[in-house]
């Protein structure tokens, strides 16, 4: 059965229609979760709003568990899905730069699109910055081409690297997420008492 497009059950002609529809669903969920507001997003780093953590980790554990079940029932061939390739040191550096960008800019790329959709100037400027950053990267790429391609492990999963079955990671992430939900809910309560000028 799945994945449908790589298995030619849905032909490539439908590709862009499906892309648009999946995008609509993605944008709708992000906006409805309150991710079109930079102050909601930044709240995760200051303890007054952990909605990002809740939505993000719920999504990861639901998707992890769901993919394993789809594979188990034979609905989806996990060996045919795209696994993001790993480049250890460039990815660590990239994530650190993105982490700083997140706290300064208050958005990530996907959430800035939903911010633009509802009329946030800061989201629009963030997206312009995004294009500027990619342009700067493109222009200076020859300087660090070697580093960019270093630490390549290929399209490896957690299981390939550690030898621990994927199901254990799904369980571990679920336990950590539930603990984090409980812990952050208590922090949120305390911090919100001291913040008066922010509407929830």
């Amino acid at each position: 059965m799945g994945p449908l497009i790589p298995n030619d059950i849905i032909t490539g002609d439908w590709n862009f229609v499906i892309a648009l529809l999946l995008g609509v669903a993605f944008g709708f969920i992000l906006e409805a979760s309150g991710f079109s507001s930079s102050r909601n997003l930044a709240g995760v780093f200051y303890g007054y709003n952990f909605v990002v953590l809740r939505v993000f980790f719920t999504a990861v554990i639901v998707a992890m568990t769901g993919l394993l079940y789809f594979d188990y029932f034979g609905w989806l061939d996990l060996s045919k899905i795209f696994i993001l390739p790993t480049f250890v040191s460039p990815m660590i550096l990239g994530a650190v730069i993105m982490g700083i960008g997140f706290v300064m800019g208050g958005f990530c790329p996907g959430t800035s699109f939903t911010g633009i959709a509802i009329g946030k100037m800061d989201a629009l400027v963030f997206a312009i910055g995004l294009a500027l950053g990619i342009f700067i990267f493109g222009e200076t790429y020859p300087l660090f081409e070697d580093f960019f391609n270093s630490g390549s492990l290929g399209n490896v999963t957690l299981t390939d690297v550690t030898g621990i079955p994927a199901a254990w990671f799904a369980i571990a992430f679920t336990v950590i997420a539930l603990a984090a939900f409980w812990f952050t809910a208590t922090i949120e309560k305390k911090v919100r008492k001291n913040i008066t000028e922010y509407k929830f």
Partner: protein
Amino acid sequence: MLGILVIITFYITGRGLGASGAVKSSVVTVVETIAPEHAASSPYYSKYIPEDKSPMNNWLVFESLGVLLGGLLSGVIYGRVKKFRTEHGPKITSKKRLFFALVGGALFGIGSQFGRGCTSGAALVGSSSFSFGGVIVMLGIFGTGYAVAYLFRKLWI
């Protein structure tokens, strides 16, 4: 909901959602239009210029247009669509907020190239499909966010 969407996306397309990729396609298109020779000779841009079609003819570009539409749809339903405005913390001006949004966006743009994707493509979808790199990016973004949050607290609280 988001988790179910990630599963459906994998089920239909065999790959995940993303956001920074569409901006990259746009940048490549602009560079190619203004300076085609420069784009073709660049070792980075040239990777993303297909031979027979525009760089905008790309899955992620259509998906991102969908994100805009979906965001608008939700905004209309929940009454959050208003005229252009800037949202900022209580201790800073709009101007300062926009400056930091620009710098933060640029950093995210650079970081997403090294990270092979942003919060959506690498951290969310990558981690969901048990990619080792996806988990590195997820932990890196949020870990760094907490590490530097104190320095930028005046922007938000």
